[in-house]
Amino acid sequence: MFIKANREAKPADWRTTVRSRVLVCATLLGLWTAAIEARLMYLQVFEHADLAARAERQQNRTVSPAAKRGDIVDRKGRLLAYSVDADTVAAVPSDIDDPNDVAAQICHALDECNAERRQAFVKKLSGRGSFAYVIRQISPEEARRVRALALPGITLLKESRRYYPNSELAAHVVGYVGLDNVGLGGIESAYDAQIRGSAGKLLIQTDNHNRAVFSRVERPATAGAGIELTIDQYLQFVAERELRTGVEANHAVGGSAIIMDPLTGEILALANWPTFNPNAFGRVEDDLRRNRAIQTLYEPGSTFKIVTASAAIEQKVITPETMIDTNPGSITFPGRKPIYDTHKYGVINFTDVIVKSSNVGAIKVGLRIGPERLTQYVSKFGFGQTLAPDFKGETAGIVWSADKLNDSALASVSMGYQVGVTALQMATAVSSIANGGHLLQPRVVRAFIKDGRRMEVAHKEMRRTIEPDTAATLTTIMEQVVERGTARAAQIEGYTIAGKTGTAAKLVNGHYQKSDYNASFVGFVPSRNPALTILVVIDSPHGNGYTGGAVSAPVFKRIAEAALTYMGVGPNLNPPPPVMVARHDPSVEQPITPTPAKAASLFASMLEPARDGLMPDLRGLSARDALRLLSRIGMSARLSGSGFVVDQRPQAGSPLVRGVACVLTLDRRGSTPALGGPQ
């Protein structure tokens, strides 16, 4: 019985034990699960907002892609200012153990680094902050060397940097940009709001390794507007080259040159010397960055007699033939020294007063005009006011009001003293004579380019200065200044030029200097159908001469010669039959393989028919070779199209009539007939 009871109790025991243990485990498991659930609930419900925000911060990054500044190009689309990414060395100073060693290594990797700079690096790296710029916007080569060092706590960031591929070219016009991409001078500053653009916003989702998984553009970066200038890169180069040559040859302090289209007011070139490199603008003194042509006032001297002459002729005070007595070669006003002419001219007509630049004659005419009328014309021509909206810091100039002009002051103004003008004002005034009396707003911005659309800036006529007849009369007088007057050094064979020289003693501390002058020449060419107005002002020449005719007129001539050839403006005095070239639509041009060797070998044989008095066959030759061959046989040419000769008139084999222009039809589209083949 006992055995049986024992046998029955045993299974119940282990079952109870197991059951109780299972119960304990289940309870623990349940508690554990409940704890987890509770924790999950706490995290997901009560802490949801905070944790979601933390996750958001960890997984999502917001970056602001910087907008690229708009390009600045010349009138033919050639780059003058451009932005590319540059590397900036940044540091986390708290991660750097030995700032001296790190600074020394970075210094070694840079092109230029002295002890002072290295010390500055040490100072930046010694802080305990979480971020510091070490050096900004270094060259790609320097960046490569710094990256190779793999220094702890040093990173390379990308920043947009402005570059000026032509260095000094048009530096004063284009301007320059600071490290923070803000325009600080020239067009960069004047149109900074348009050029700069606006930064975008980019959301990036990252993984646990901080790698970007997805990105979403919240707001795209808006690139700044591009600006097309009226400046022509080549003309600007020529103006700067010749101005520099003129300044250096005459041991002058500096100078300015302006080339302007008198029919539109567009500034084709604006050069100053000395100049600076906008890529390293911080290394030069402020004075070099000053745009002399619009910010420096000078007394124009005799070039201002153009204004006096305009007022006198327009108001019919005199005619070009009116005789004026300049004896005894000087004129005196109470309380000041006598004003002299360079030579004693005696009694001369008004044209000669301008041609010979007689101060006495101009003063006598000025006195006849009177202060009211003269100041009215001074104002009409744009003196004493800012003209160009494209330049910041343009100087208005100094002019007198009529009520303050006594005879002495009126005399000074009549010959271009006691007035302060800028080179730009003078070029604009003379352009108004060149174009028949329209004062056009001088512009340097030709168009804005935004989102692929080009918005042209309209030309603006400010006012009429003089009547067309007066302009024509003045032009005739100014032509004689160059033909037989003070500006013979400006003559260019084959072209009529209208101009005026000016030589004004510089006023320093209230006294006119006997050794420092402003020598200037302003003129337009060809005078009968003006294409260019050119002004040259040289500051304090100390070379072979100091007058506008000796110093500035030769510079004008060299600039004008190069510009006329470049612009294709032919001579207007006894012109040879012109070589005409039709502008071909580049979109339909398909280059064919030129045959220079073949053409060269046939060149001599082609002259054979000419010796017999027959027209050679020019088909298949390049335009250059055809022109060369025609010039050898005494013929001129008119060209139509571009490429190779595909047709000619007179036809090959016809009798040769020397002096007649041969009309050549050029084409690039492979239909060139076989050389010498049948027509």
Binding site: P165, S167, F237, G436, G437, D469, T565
Partner: protein, 130 residues
């Protein structure tokens, strides 16, 4: 060993070999349906997982390609800058005069090629007056 410890079991010889279990077709269908549903769920799960990982993979790929594109564009900008720097007239003139010893042509050696499309002429009245 104590005799009391012995336990006796009566073994009854049961012969159930002839018994053939009848196939329950309803259960069979239910089974296959369950297997099918299970498979379907697994496939859906795998498909969605595949989609998720593909999305991630393409995300990385797109990001990498965008970075490559940005880098190529930047290289393009650098090259354009280099081209324009090399085209600078001052540099070209320096090479022409100092290295190649070229000289500027005199006026007699140069022909002015007039453009067929001239700039707008001045006022008719001015031209007439001249």
């Amino acid at each position: 060993m104590n005799a009391m410890d012995f336990e006796y079991a009566i073994k009854k010889d049961i012969r159930n070999n002839p018994i053939v279990r009848e196939v329950d077709e309803a259960r069979q269908r239910q089974l296959w349906r369950s297997v099918g549903i299970g498979l379907f769920l697994v496939i859906v799960l795998l498909f969605s997982a595949w989609q998720h990982f593909e999305l991630l993979r393409h995300g990385y790929q797109i990001e990498r390609m965008q970075q490559e594109r940005a880098a190529e564009e930047e290289i393009n900008r650098h090259l354009r800058l280099e081209v324009e720097t090399l085209r600078a007239p001052r540099r070209i003139e320096k090479i022409a005069t100092e290295q190649l010893h070229l000289v500027a042509p005199s006026r007699g050696q140069a022909i002015v090629i007039e453009r067929v499309t001239p700039s707008a002429p001045p006022d008719t009245s001015v031209v007439a007056a001249r």
